[in-house]
Amino acid sequence: MNQRLNLSGVSKSFGPVQVLDSVSLTLLPGEVHGLLGENGAGKSTLLNILCGVISKDSGTIAIDGKPIQIGSPRDAAAAGIAMIHQELQQVPELTVAQNIYLGAALRHAGGLLVDRRAQETEARRLLAPLDPSIDVTAKVHDLRVAQRQIVEIAKALRAQARIIAMDEPTSSLTPKEFERLVSVIQTLTAQGVSIIYVSHKMDEVFRLCSQATILRDGRLVAQVPIPQTPVGQVIETMVGRELAHASHRSFATDRVVLRVANLTRGTAVQDASFALHAGEVLGIAGLVGSGRTELMRLLAGVDRASGGTISVNGRTPGTGPRARIRAGLGLVPEERKRDGIIRHRPVASNVCLPAMRGFSRWGFIRKGYLNERSQSLMAEVRLRPLDVTRAIGSFSGGNQQKAIIGRWLATDTQVFLFDEPTRGIDVGAKAEIYDLIEKLASQGRAIIVVSSEMPEVIRVSDRVLVIREGRISATLSRHEITEANIARNAIPA
C-alpha cells in the first residue's frame, strides 16, 4: 500500500535544547497510528511541525509519496492535514455551521454575502455520519466538549483533510462519549482518512491503533505493532531510561506539619488525604491534567475546596491565600510569569508582598530594612546578579524562580509548595534549585514538589504520591520510587 505520510529524519532544537532528534514516522491510508511518550518527549513539537505551527530544522515530509514543504498552517491545510487540539480552537459565539466554514465561508450574491443556508445544509451533510444530533444552528458554546470535538472533526472533513492529528482527544470525555468518538474514527478510516492519535491512555491506544510510535527525550525509541505488543512493554519503552539514584539525602522527621484529609474540588481533586512531615520532601507525580496543580492551588488557598480539611501544626487555617500564608504555606507557582512575578517591580517589592507586616512600621514600609533583608535572602538563594532594586522581569527564568523562592523565606513559611519548580529553567539553575530544596529540608521545612520530570521527582523526593485522574493512586516510599512504578500508577489503565 502507498504511504499516506512519511516523516523522515525530522529534527528541531529550541536554542541549545534538542527537542526532536531525527524522528521518522510513516502513516498508511486509513490507519490509526498512536504517538506515545512522556510529557516533554516531543509529541507536541512533532505535531506542531506537521501542522505548520513551527518549522523543522531538518528532515523531510512527504504526502502520498510527494515531498512537500510546510511553512505555515495554511500549507498544512492545503496538504490535507488537520489537527484536533486538546484545547479546541473555535469561536464559541458562532454557530456550528459558521465554525465549520470559518475562514472558508460559502458565498452568494456575487461573493458579497455569506450564504448561511448553504453552509447549514452542507454542515448538516458533513455531520450526518458523525453525529446527526448536533444542531448546526446552535452556538458552539452551548455544546458539550465531546460535541465540539466532533464539530472540529467535521471542519477537518470540510477542508478535505486526509490526515487528522488528535492531541489527547479524550481528556475530557465520558466513557460513553469515547464510544461515540471510536465510531467516528472508524467512519473516518473507512473513508481512507489517516489518524495520528496522541494519548496517555493505554486502553484507548490498544482499542484504536494498529501501530504506535514511541518517543522519548525527542528521539524515536520504537515503532511497535499494537495489539501484539504487551502493554507493560509499551510503558517500559516509553519510560525507559535507567537512573542512578543520585545523591539523595533525607532530612525527614516524624513530626507532622501538614495534614490533609479528603480534600476535594469537583472532579479535579478527589478525596486527597496525606500527611507531610517536617524536613520531608514529598514528590507529587502524575500526568499533566491529573490534578496536581489543582491540589497545590487548594493547599495555597488560591482555589476553594468543595470538601475536606487541612491542618497545619494541628490548626485549621482559614480560606484564601492570605490566611494560608499566615498559617505558613507558600506556593511557588507553575506559571511563573502569570502567577508568580510582578514583572515591572523590583525584586525587593516582589519579596515583601506576603510579608508586609514584617517590613513596615507605623504604616510605612521600612525601605532600608527591606532592601537589606531582601539582599541577604537573595544571597541565600544565590540570585544573580545580586541586585534587589532591579525589576524582576529583567532576570533570567531561573533567577526569577530563586527570587520567588526567596520571597517565602522572608515569612515564617513552614510548608513550601513547589509546582514544576524547574520548568523552563536551564540545567545549571536547575541544580541550584535542587540544592535549595535540600537546604530547606535540612532546616526542617516541609516541602511538596510537583513535577512532570521523572528524574526530578526521583532525585528530590523522600516519598512520592502518584495522582491519577484527580485521585491519589499510590504512595511510594523512597526505595519504591522508580520510573516504572510511577508510570504504572500515573497512566490510566
Partner: protein, 317 residues
C-alpha cells in the same frame, strides 16, 4: 546608579515629562513677553490645580489596573451637597466633611461593584458617570446653588506668601499621594495588583481592600476638587466637571501612567497637568483660537504616547 541623592529619585520617565514641559514653555517664552512673568506662572498653577487634584486620584486608580470615569459627576454631587449644607447654615468644617464623605461614598460604591461584584472598572464607572450626574441634577432640579458663605470662600480664594491656596492644597495632596504610592504598603499593593493581579493575590495581597482604597481615594480627590472650584466660583452647579475624567487620564498618561496598570508616577502626573495647563495658557496668550487649542492638546497626548512607546524597554524601571 547615580551619586546625587535627589537626582536619582527623579526617574528617567519623569525627567522626560519635565523635558517636554521645558520645551513647551520655551516655545511660549520666545513668543510672548507675558508668559514667563511670575503672575502668569502662578496663574498656570492655579488653573492646573483642579485637574491636578482629580489626576492624583486617577493616577492611583490607573496604577492599580483600573480607571475612574465617574470623577466629574462625583465632584458635581459632592459640590451640590456641600453647597446645600453651607447655604443651610451647617458649620463650615462639617459641610466640608459632608462633601468629602459624599465623594468617598461614591468611591465606595464604585469599589464595591468592581471588587465585590467583579465588574469591569470601565463599565462600572461609566455607569457611575451617568448615575452620580443624575443624582446631582435631581437633587438640585438642575439649578445652581448660590450664596456660599464668605468664610468658606476665603479658604480657596486666599493665598499664602503669594501662592494661591488651591495650589497649596494640591501640593499637600500630591505629597500625600506620593508618600502613599512610594512609602506605604498600600502603594506597593497598588503597583502589584495593577502589574499582575493574579500573582498579587497568590502572594497574599489583600486585593479587595486595595481596590476599594483606590476608588475611595479617587472619590475623595474629586470632592476636594469640587470644594476648591465652588469656593472660587461662589456657586455650585450640578453640571460642573464635564469631561474632567478625560483631562485627568490625559495628564496621568502624559506623566507615564500605563493604562494597563502597574506603572505610573505622581510627579509625572503633576508635570502632565502643568503641561496641559501651560498649553492652554500659552495658546490663549498667543490669541490662538480655542479650536486650535483642542487640536494642540490632542497632538501633545498622542506625541507623548508615541515617545513613550519608542523609549519603553530602554528605561531602568
Amino acid at each position: 546608579m547615580t551619586r546625587f541623592p535627589l537626582l536619582s529619585r527623579i526617574r528617567f520617565r519623569d525627567a522626560g515629562t519635565l523635558l517636554g514641559l521645558i520645551l513647551i514653555s520655551g516655545v511660549f517664552a520666545a513668543q510672548s513677553d507675558v508668559f514667563l512673568t511670575q503672575p502668569n506662572l502662578i496663574n498656570i498653577l492655579q488653573q492646573s490645580s483642579i485637574n491636578a487634584c482629580i489626576a492624583l486620584g486617577m493616577t492611583l486608580v490607573i496604577i492599580s489596573g483600573g480607571i475612574d470615569l465617574s470623577v466629574g459627576p462625583i465632584a458635581a454631587l459632592s459640590a451640590v451637597l456641600g453647597a446645600a449644607m453651607l447655604v443651610a447654615g451647617v458649620p463650615i468644617p462639617l459641610a466640608i466633611a459632608g462633601a468629602l464623605a459624599t465623594g468617598v461614598a461614591c468611591g465606595f460604591v464604585n469599589g464595591a461593584l468592581i471588587a465585590w461584584g467583579g465588574l469591569q472598572p470601565f463599565i462600572v464607572t461609566l455607569g457611575g458617570l451617568s448615575l452620580y450626574r443624575a443624582l446631582a441634577l435631581i437633587y438640585t432640579g438642575g439649578q445652581p446653588i448660590f450664596g456660599l458663605p464668605d468664610g468658606f470662600r476665603a479658604l480657596t480664594n486666599g493665598s499664602l506668601a503669594g501662592i494661591p491656596n488651591p495650589v497649596i492644597i494640591v501640593a499637600c495632596l500630591a505629597i500625600a499621594a506620593w508618600i502613599i504610592l512610594n512609602k506605604t504598603p498600600l502603594g506597593e499593593y497598588f503597583m502589584a495588583i495593577g502589574g499582575n493581579p493574579e500573582a498579587a493575590r497568590i502572594a497574599g495581597v489583600p486585593v479587595t481592600l486595595t481596590k476599594f482604597a483606590a476608588y475611595m481615594i479617587s472619590g475623595l480627590m474629586a470632592a476636594v476638587a469640587a470644594l476648591v472650584l465652588i469656593g472660587r466660583l461662589g456657586a455650585a452647579e450640578p453640571t460642573m466637571g464635564i469631561l474632567w475624567e478625560l483631562d485627568a487620564i490625559a495628564a496621568a498618561a502624559i506623566g507615564g501612567a500605563s493604562l494597563m496598570g502597574g506603572r505610573g508616577s505622581i510627579i509625572g502626573t503633576l508635570i502632565g497637568c502643568i503641561i496641559l495647563g501651560t498649553l492652554r495658557n500659552g495658546l490663549t496668550l498667543l490669541n490662538v483660537q480655542a479650536f486650535y487649542q483642542l487640536l494642540a492638546t490632542g497632538i501633545i497626548i498622542i506625541v507623548a504616547m508615541l515617545i513613550d512607546k519608542a523609549t519603553s524597554g530602554k528605561q531602568g524601571g
